[in-house]
Subunit: 223 residues, 2 copies
């Protein structure tokens, strides 16, 4: 296809495509004339992946180049490929309000061991779930920080309280992986992983809000 | 208790407590001397709620005053109370990257009906789930926007694809509501609703990431 069709089908403007070509993010097309090239579906898929990494994930152009290079090398190792694409995603953090950090010096014991005091609790949780996960994954830190924050705010909630939530997260992740199996090649799989992991996040939280509204109405409403 | 103990137990500094007292967010204590007052557990609970609304939820002082005033009036209507506390929360949005908005004019039909074209799909989803929810809730808009964005990016994913996720969100919300039942009074229930709804959000997404890592290892790893 010509660059105009590539632009139309990918939703990426021609100047941006030319920028990606100059920058090496997108491999050159097959030259058909002095100033003309032919592009195929692999260009379209790569363009969509670039767009999802930069546009949706908010990666920089250079970070995107690193991920794409790794994707090229890891085409036959789906786990590493997904790990790269999913692993580069910094885990979500709560945007805590200003001026209300947890008070210092209020914990009973002096917690000076790990970076985040709650990490051993998260390790207990993942062990209980039978999850093979890296102990210091950013996501583990987020869970640990949440437990610490709730404790600092006087909420009675520990890793045991998280267990039923972890069970549901486990099923959600299984669903997520199911979404990737019908992808035709590693590049497409990587793209779907980024799109579905990142783009579904706000939707999953929103579904929880809608369901909360429903359950609240069921339990306390009417009358 | 004296203001110093109130400060210690709530984790809110004395100057901040005095500011809330002057501003009317916190009702005055019982005067015990010319310049001294006595505070009770209701002050402590209200202070924690203020802190969770301002600090955790990021509400402004005036929005917090509105919510607190409504909480006072709705003490005996738990559904309205939770709706207030949960409903004031703007639904999470994806922080889309800059300069990569969905292209204009690429949809087949001219979608000029609703604010968000995906809303009828969300209505179909909530109907299928049997959820009693407000059709124009911010959360419904977020789900609709997600479906639109995925479509614009060429991902084959519609409201039917969201159904299994909605089932899991339904169970998550039921768990959320369970967490509130052991709260002793409406004020505490409102506080827990804010804390657990907002603070658990990043943790739930992080648990999904951990579970994704595990499932990816299970399906594609090793060897």
């Amino acid at each position: 296809m010509r660059i105009s069709e590539l632009s139309r089908r990918s939703g990426v403007s021609i100047p941006t495509i030319k920028y990606y070509l100059r920058d090496g993010l997108l491999p050159p097309g097959r030259a058909t004339a002095a100033n003309q090239a032919d592009y195929d579906d692999s260009h379209l898929r790569r363009l969509r992946l670039i767009r999802s990494l930069i546009g949706v994930r908010g990666l920089s152009v250079s970070a995107t180049r690193d991920v794409l290079a790794a994707v090229d090398v890891q085409q036959d190792n789906v786990h590493l490929l997904l790990g790269l694409v999913l692993g580069v995603l910094p885990a979500a953090r709560s945007d805590e309000g200003s001026g209300s950090a947890a008070p210092h010096g209020t914990s009973d014991a002096a917690d000076t061991d790990a970076d985040v005091p709650g990490l051993p609790e998260v390790a207990a949780l993942t062990a209980e779930m039978g999850w093979e996960t890296s102990a210091n994954a950013p996501a583990a830190q987020v869970v640990a920080e949440t437990l610490e924050t709730l404790r600092a705010l006087g909420v009675d909630f520990d890793w045991h309280s998280l267990l039923p939530y972890a069970e549901l997260a486990d099923r959600t992740a299984a669903l997520d992986l199911d979404q990737l199996t019908d992808a035709s090649d590693p590049l497409q799989q990587a793209e779907r992983a980024v799109l579905l992991t990142v783009l579904l996040e706000p939707a999953l939280l929103a579904l929880r809000r809608l369901a909360q509204e429903h359950h609240s109405a069921q339990r306390y409403g009417g009358g």
